[in-house]
Amino acid sequence: MTPSLPMSMMPTRRSVLLSLGAGITAMALPRGSWAQGTDAVLKFGLSTFPPTVKPFDNTGGAANTVKLMIYRGLMGYDASGKLLPELAESYEWLEPTVAVFKLRANATFHNGKPVTAADVIFSLNEITKEGSTAFLKSDLAIITAVEAVDDKTVKITLSSPSAIFMDLMASYCCPIISAESTDGNDIGAGPFVMKSSEKGVYIELERYGAYYDEGGPNFGGIRFIAYADENLRFAALEAGDVDLIEYLPWTQFDAVEASDTMQMKSTLGPYMFLLFNVTEGPFADAKVRQAVGYAIERQDVVDAAFAGRGVPLYGLPNPQGSPFDLSNPAHEWTYDIEKAKALLAEAGYPNGFDCRLLATATYGMHQDTASVVQAYLAMIGINATLDLPDWGTRVTAGKEGKYDLAVHGTSGIYNDPDSLWSLLYSGNPSYLQSFGFKSARIDGLLEQGRTEVDTEKRKAVYQDLAAAYFEEVPQVPLNWRVQAYAMKKSVTGFEALPGFLNGSSAYALDETQLG
């Protein structure tokens, strides 16, 4: 009973205390306010609480952001998305299949011990060993040997040349951890150390004093707070409870742009697309899938599901920042309802058909995308019934092929067409791929592109891939999403990394300052 009275007083008391505190601080530290800033704690609003922060598993964007603050790999990216040596000081390709990394002399783990060749051997073995659940296990299966040349030099031998090996080494799923790590206690070499956490609520990190980069992080710690509700996440930023949020809801972009106190950094990152069950029914016919490609006005998807913040995508989803320009109008679906109807008729469905369109009610953008797609398909006679279970059920339905047509959205992990491997390579079926879709031609091109190191030849391979994608239709692309981080104006130096690297934007926190 008694708390009720002080509580109603709280509003005024809070603001008075705040302004008083700020005033005293300002008076006490007329010139020392910069030092104050470097010890401050950045409060970061996450979209979900990381289910785990196991270094080698991929358990979502929030987890990867936290992981990048605790762990670092041999390679990394700067705020513009440029690939740079990280725990390695330099590297060299002795042969197309042999890379040698020189480790930084001053790189140490959070237990104070130096990062050595033995730790690199240990970490890569943790990923590739039998029974591992590592995200990059199959990608790194090309490693045939990891040897210590000396304490600070590692030689890695591959079974075939790899154009994307250095990108893999920069992935948030390929950090180097101490060989003294035990199960449940992984020791990293990143800029911050785990201080405390409560499952579902927050994770607090503090600066690692002996981080190799001498400038070190520009602030004393990070407190990650999970806000599952996107509107609350935005409200928390607007109210000043947090300094920076990920996944700014699309409907709030206007508010941030108009604000005096907030700003945002965004890039075109993930993309939305349609998948098909090609084992039975009309969608087994590539012509019908092509018809779907022509039947949808993509700008309407962008407008309805993403408040206009996206770009229509008509062909192979070659990410922003990719080394190649693969655009070719001959291999793109523009909105052409007549062509769509003609293709349907050619396939033997002049009057259309009924089908199930799978999406999820867990994510509003998936559901809204599905609604627009449903409306456009109706115009060519395809009557789709929406199936909108929760995310967990949707993943299982996708994996088991319990759908005819499905909406999905995702991102690769580096800016290269090879990043589409997990989405297109039939050797690793998952709910991310059209159910039952197999194409020796697409698989072959992906394999060729990965092992070819000559840039011009690779480009030709991926141009062929764009053609195969258009003709065989493993998926129908819809649009790129603008993916934004929003922050207080006083937070400077943070950038969203371009393209598929958007999910690795936590690297830019190295250059971020609190005002």
């Binding site: 991929n58 928390a236 607007e238 993930p270 967990g392």
Partner: protein
Amino acid sequence: MLAFLLRRVAAAIVMLLVVGTIIFSLLVIVPGDPAELLLSTGGGSATQEAIQNLRIEMGLDKPILAQYFSFLINTAQFEFGTSIVDGSSIADAIALRLPRTLEIIGVGAVLALIVAIPVGTLAGLRGGGRFDVIASGVNALLTSIPGFVVGTLFIYFFAQVLRVLPAGGYVAFSQDPAQHLQMLVLPATTVALHLATIIFRMTRASVLEMRGHDWVRTATAKGLRRSLVVRRHILRNALGPVITVVGLQLGILLGSTVLIEFVYNWPGLSGMLVTAVEQRDYPTVRAIILTVAAIFIGINLVIDILYSLLDPRIRLK
């Protein structure tokens, strides 16, 4: 008496066993694979091999019946085990979060009682008068606004426009009492608002009924002060049904604060249950539901026993 007690306790145990079995079966039927989900968070996907390895780590490769029996045996020993998602102790998490849910419900109930009983009494005493009409009108309006809408509006006004309170979140009382109370204000008020409308209605109706009784007229006729008549003769009798309803509502709230906890990012038990369901963290879902069911069944057991003490005839039935 002893036989009655034993019968009741046995019935409670059987009920818990039934709840446990139902929840176990439901979770088997619900589609969704925790291993695949964990490695698909955010829309990516791991290899089938990695997913299979994780299933083995989670113990999901064992036959369903074996999983069921080990669940029964562990529960009988009060062993809730660990979350299959991150291996953390479930009992610890429930011990941490249950009090927080109880806190917003408890503080909300106190706030609701403080406001609704006097207002309801006044409205009942002046049934049909101007105060009653206005209070009942406002009450009808408030009843019809769901908690999550109130929550969203509160956040908008108090956090985003006025900026006097945080938008949500939680800090332990031991860590920072002032901030803890600030963060408690909005969720507790939201719970209180809903509860207050129910208490107001009950109080008003009950007072309205009581004030017409003979003994009230007698008390007034023999010259007692008005305040004494109200307190001793009307309110004391009128509050019986109100207390019953409040008790019932508190039980219901234990399972229905989900939306309020979600809107305010208040890390209570319901929020934990929602996340566990989303992640198909089977042992966590089972443990939370069993805990809530046990609280319900336990309260009922206590009430049964109390009644039997008050009225021995009940024991015979």
